[in-house]
């Protein structure tokens, strides 16, 4: 492990600043931050806040890529600041709040819309066959688990919304993470709530808004692949439509 990972270099950061109480509009502010090579962008921000400017506002907590707090635009791409390693950024690093969300202050965005959409898709188990605690656990084979586990990995970091061109144009779009989460429950062998969720997601504000750009899956830090979930919902709802209109005697 003898390399330059512990070397300190001066890193230029351009950070978007906006305080609604004092600023007319957002502007980029430059900082030169002494950084250890092995740091991530979040470490650089923490150094900045502790030593250069305590007024900078941003969200963070776990520093291990699982709490989903520190999503931001880094050189124009949605990233978790704790997963963006300085070794991958040789030049100036531009840091801005996640695109497509209103800025609350500096790098902090307003998450109300996302939170409302999460709730709207009924992201909880609606049991197909209810069980009591005395009945014990549902049996679920490793294969059945595998059908939805990937979609259960979403950390709600909202990077996919910042990457999604459709969401940027049409904020009513329920969006990748929420639809992937609905799909996660639809795919769960214990669940029987698909019809209720389809009412929300198999609509023009749901999957049919998606034009399959696939940017959501590219930026997902947890490889959830929401684009795949969206396509699967589209296919399934198309099948539903045919069953309903041409083969109404067949039970879905």
């Amino acid at each position: 492990m003898s390399d330059n990972r512990m070397e300190v270099r001066q890193v230029e950061l351009e950070v978007l600043r906006y305080n609604p109480e004092t600023d007319q509009e957002p502007k980029l502010q430059k900082f030169t931050v002494p950084c250890v090579n092995e740091w991530c962008v979040l470490d650089a921000l923490n150094y900045l806040k502790d030593n250069l400017d305590p007024t900078l506002a941003y969200r963070w907590s776990c520093h291990m890529q699982v709490c989903g707090s520190c999503g931001m635009m880094i050189n124009g791409e949605p990233k978790l600041a704790c997963k963006a390693m300085l070794r991958d950024y040789p030049g100036t690093i531009r840091i801005e709040p996640l695109a497509h969300f209103p800025v609350e202050r500096d790098l902090v965005t307003v998450a109300d819309d996302f939170m409302a959409k999460l709730k709207r898709v009924k992201p909880y188990l609606i049991p197909g066959q209810p069980r009591t605690l005395e009945d014990g656990e549902y049996k679920q084979s490793p294969e059945q688990l595998k059908r939805y586990r990937q979609y259960a990995m979403c950390i709600n970091c909202m990077l996919c919304y910042a990457a999604c061109p459709e969401y940027g144009l049409q904020p009513k779009f329920i969006g990748p993470a929420a639809i992937a989460l609905a799909h996660r429950y639809n795919q769960d062998s214990r669940d029987g709530g698909r019809d209720e969720r389809q009412e929300e997601i198999a609509t023009n504000e749901g999957v049919w808004e998606c034009t399959f750009v696939g940017a959501c899956s590219e930026v997902c830090p947890k490889h959830v692949d929401p684009a795949a979930a969206l396509q699967q919902v589209k296919v399934a709802s198309t099948v539903d439509w045919y069953l309903e209109h041409f083969m109404s005697w067949v039970k879905k």
């Binding site: 512990m6 305590p54 709490c67 909880y124 656990e137 709600n156």
Partner: protein, 585 residues
């Protein structure tokens, strides 16, 4: 000041807070539940727990075994009535989570799978790969969304409890978005605010774990219990402190010193077990306190691995193979590659012990009631105490469920039995809390900086209250923390605006940590024995004649806390010898 009137208010929306909220919502759809958190619920640190949750489910297991593992693991400081309640409720809670959709790993026959964990004699740890806490938290959060009577207040920071007529009837909180203070009036309050590991420089904890819940209760007169017991997790990444779950060893990883020798056999945890065939409750599956202490001794003996980040030992998982690592420990692999540039499939990982968990916390009884009527607590911020002097891995993810639910239901009972409070008196208290905050805003910037005081606190905590402690080291830390608490009175804000003021938040969090840190240091200085995670070089033996007791720290303003003691509840297991040698019968 805007007032929110509610039946039960919960501070903290991690595992324990969410479980409390759901229990309340299910108990009565008509009651009003206010769930307050300084972060969005899914950011809570429950999400970082990796390994799993312990509950008796398999035929080869028994409640008795879980009881004895837990009590012995806690070096007999656990309250045994609490442990009994806990182990019996544990499987019910884990099945309940399964019914709510938690993606537990499965056996081939579709039943829930269990894995081995440190200090446990039987495999009983339910797991969801190495993201168990993440899945538990998200399952709870998502489940909570179906209850209309849970009203969430995300990104609100609670500042002061409102105590009138001898009972807790609410609190004040800052709405981060507006910077405005709100007054919450409630029939009962539950604190589920998490731990305080951020008082140490090298820790596994998220930035939010600053002891705010503990400090709230403590300042309002509820004592903190057993605060001197701080758990070091043996396997942290040496640079970032990121947790590498105990499941690394549960699945078969081994610890080696610089000579590639499995040193745990020299510390009462031998004889050596075959590579790739971990045996329960011995060698690498010893309890966390013993394993971390052994690493400390290896460092003293000069048998550690020297790295750029200090003395380490090796965690070797290569023999597990890529397939098993990807199936059981995918997150561990990601983290090692991301922060260390090391792939555990191909290379050994240097690790060092890292502050992980507070066994101590707000004193509660088995009903999750604190000493202050109307105030309940659960999760890491509380000390009931099932964990005693050393928590076993995979007990805390169950503790948040069992006692989260208990706290919610106890709070409801209390709220229903109370007459309406004195509104004017509560408003006066809330105004006083607001005035205190305003004074912080008005203060001119002085020479004490938040980050400067925080660094001094962290350094002295590591120096005085680390894995091994002495009278001298702890006395020095007590003095230092006392000094820092006085200097904190002059801390001043650079940011005097309202919207999402993290300078203010940092200042308040520092205040919480300093109060908790003093309870840790003073509690440790006064406990003149070695037990579990509290190890002293000057009093090396456990002393049941004097210290088979919980320490109780009472807030005392700017003076150090008053320490009192309380008997441990022993029901069926008298203090014995902790034996983790594989040779025992």
């Amino acid at each position: 000041m805007e007032t929110i009137q509610t039946d039960v208010a919960i501070i903290g929306a991690g595992g324990a807070g969410l479980r409390a909220a759901i229990a309340l919502a299910q108990a009565d759809p008509k009651i009003r539940i206010a769930l307050i958190s300084k972060v969005y619920p899914m950011r809570s640190h429950t999400c970082a727990a990796e390994g799993g949750a312990a509950g008796v489910i398999k035929d080869d297991d028994s409640f008795e075994q879980h009881f004895h593992d837990t009590v012995g693991g806690g070096d007999w400081l656990s309250d045994q009535d609490a442990v009994e309640y806990f182990i019996h409720e544990a499987p019910k809670e884990l099945i309940q989570l399964e019914h709510w959709g938690c993606p537990w790993n499965r056996e081939a026959d579709g039943s829930v799978a269990v894995r081995p964990f440190g200090g446990m004699k039987i495999k009983r740890t339910w797991f969801a790969a190495d993201k168990s806490g993440f899945h538990i938290l998200h399952t709870l959060f998502q489940t909570s969304l179906q209850f209309q009577n849970i009203q969430r207040f995300d990104e609100y920071y609670a500042t002061d409890l409102l105590v009138d007529d001898g009972r807790c009837q609410g609190f004040t909180a800052i709405e981060m978005r507006s910077g405005q203070m709100r007054c919450f009036k409630a029939g009962a309050v539950v604190i589920a605010g998490g731990g305080a590991g951020r008082m140490f420089p090298f820790n596994t904890n998220g930035a939010i774990k600053t002891g705010d819940g503990m400090a709230l209760a403590y300042r309002a007169g509820a004592p903190l219990k057993d605060m001197e017991f701080v758990q070091y997790h043996p396997t942290g990444l040496p640079n970032t402190g990121t947790l590498l779950t105990e499941a690394c060893r549960g699945e078969g990883g081994v610890l080696l010193n610089k000579d590639n020798y499995r040193f745990l056999q020299d510390y009462g945890m031998g004889p050596e077990t075959p590579i790739g065939k971990p045996e329960l409750k011995t060698m690498e599956l010893g309890p966390r306190d013993r394993v971390s202490q052994s690493i400390w001794h290896e460092i003293q003996r000069g048998r550690s691995v020297k790295t750029a980040w200090g003395d380490c030992v090796w965690l070797d998982m290569r023999h597990l193979g890529e397939k098993k690592i990807d199936e059981r420990l995918p997150f561990v692999r990601d983290i090692c590659i991301s922060y260390l540039g090391i792939d555990p499939v191909k290379e050994m990982v240097p690790i060092r012990p890292v502050v992980h968990y507070m066994m101590g916390g707000i004193h509660t009884d088995t009903k999750a009631a604190t000493s202050l009527p109307g105030l309940f607590a659960a999760g890491e911020c509380a000390c009931v105490s099932i964990n005693g002097a050393n928590r076993l891995g995979s007990n805390s993810l169950v503790e948040i469920l069992v006692f989260g639910k208990r706290a919610g239901l106890s709070a409801l009972d209390h709220a229903r039995s109370q007459k309406p409070g004195n509104d004017a008196a509560l408003t006066t208290l809330a105004d006083a809390a607001q005035a205190k905050l305003r004074a912080l805003f008005m203060r001119n910037v002085g020479k004490e900086s938040i980050s400067g005081l925080r660094k001094e606190m962290m350094d002295t905590m590591e120096e005085g209250c680390g894995i091994y402690r002495t009278q001298e080291s702890m006395a020095k830390t007590c003095d230092k923390i006392s000094e820092l608490r006085r200097r904190y009175q002059n801390v001043a804000l650079h940011d005097k605006t309202n919207v999402y003021n993290t300078d203010l938040l940092s200042a308040l969090e520092l205040g919480s940590m300093l109060d908790c840190a003093e309870a840790v240091a003073v509690g440790g200085r006064e406990r003149k024995e070695s037990r579990g995670a509290h190890q002293r070089l000057d009093f090396t033996a456990r002393d049941d004649s004097k210290y088979l007791k919980h320490s109780m720290a009472y807030y005392n303003g700017l003076e150090p806390p008053r320490i009192d003691y309380r008997d441990v509840v022993i029901t069926s297991s008298p203090p014995g010898v902790r034996d983790y040698s594989g040779a025992k019968k």
